[in-house]
């Protein structure tokens, strides 16, 4: 996978870190301090179409939804830039009754993107 650099237009992984303190969630989420909600963006010209990709992911669902909405406006062909590797997000947090809960949410952090 390729990490997005300044000015890169090719399909890449855009890093985006959500700091729980910034969104005021650090009081009920004990660990970690934030969530790497990386996402895939960029072009998939035909010559890279078909690079390995998987479709059963949260981002793909969103992308399909967006594609469906804008199918009319979409121009050009090729494949879409989607996650090809993901990892879970492990959370330690308080529930409503101040119990400590540990949960592993699968497929939450995108590790790599590809054209599929």
């Amino acid at each position: 996978g390729i990490d997005c650099q300044e000015g890169s237009r090719m399909c890449c992984r855009q890093e985006f870190f959500v700091d729980f303190r910034e969104i005021g969630w650090h009081d009920w989420i004990i660990q970690p301090e934030g969530y790497a909600m990386n996402f895939c963006t960029g072009q998939c010209p035909l010559h890279v179409a078909g690079m390995p990709g998987i479709s059963a992911s949260f981002h793909t669902a969103v992308l399909n939804l967006l594609k469906a909405n804008t199918a009319v406006g979409a121009s050009g062909g090729g494949s879409c830039c989607v996650p090809t590797a993901r990892r879970p997000l492990s959370l330690l947090y308080y529930d409503r009754d101040s119990n400590i809960v540990k949960t592993d949410i699968p497929d939450m952090a995108v590790e790599a993107c590809g054209c599929s």
């Binding site: 009920w28 963006t41 967006l66 909405n69 406006g73 529930d95 400590i100």
Partner: protein
């Protein structure tokens, strides 16, 4: 984005301005986490929990036993010494490996564990049996003889490790460990990588600083 008229972030030819979409992404993150935790909204704590209480709860989560073990086993007094093999005499299917430990690093200390790490390059679907022998000098004898032997079945290429017994630990604490690697055949012997910069066998000895290192106040 339809409402804002700006281009879809994942569509063909789109460019994506991170900062202008920040609020949207933060909202998306919140929704996604709450949805996965099956929460309709973030929990609000009726009474905030102090850091000290949190620490106690987490320690309880780990369980009293773990805590005791940690107290007993004080890693600050332990360290690991690594020694790379010097390959000595070798015959068709045997090779001698010598490992040296400086007095300062291991001498007079309590060696807790000795692991031999070596790299094997096997043809696919091949397996191989080899023996690792620990060599010692017997009293009144100038030749090294083996005192214990570890048979090993290798079925994949890569690094393999073998934990050696008390004889090896004793030899390390005396500063010099000699091993002998014996394989079934010459061809099999070739698959064990003994030389080379990045695949040289080595020994990792976990050492506990002996009394000599501690200062006693009378």
């Amino acid at each position: 984005n339809l409402q804002t008229g700006s281009s879809c972030p994942a569509c063909w030819g789109a460019t994506f301005d991170l900062e202008s979409q920040r609020e949207l992404l933060l909202d998306l993150a919140k929704k996604s986490i709450l949805e996965k935790l099956h929460l309709s909204q973030r929990p609000t704590l009726s009474q905030p929990v102090s850091r000290a209480a949190l620490k106690t709860a987490l320690q309880r989560l780990r369980g009293p036993h773990r805590q005791k073990t940690l107290l007993e086993h004080d890693p600050t007094q332990e360290y690991e010494v690594i020694s790379f093999a010097e390959t000595g005499l070798s015959s068709i299917n045997q090779t001698r490996l010598d490992f040296h430990f400086s007095d300062r690093a291991a001498g007079g200390t309590d060696v807790r564990q000795v692991r031999l790490m070596f790299f094997v390059q096997l043809p696919s679907n091949a397996t191989q049996t080899l023996n690792v022998r620990v060599l010692v000098l017997r009293p009144y004898d100038t030749n090294l003889t083996w005192t214990s032997q570890y048979p090993l079945q290798v079925d994949a290429s890569g690094w393999h490790q073998l934990v050696l017994g008390p004889e090896a630990r004793a030899a390390c604490s005396q500063g010099h460990l000699s091993l002998e690697l014996v394989t079934e055949s010459q061809a099999a012997h070739g698959s064990v990588i003994l030389g080379g910069f990045s695949h040289r066998p080595f020994v990792a000895a976990r050492v506990r600083a002996g009394d000599k290192h501690r200062v006693h106040r009378r």
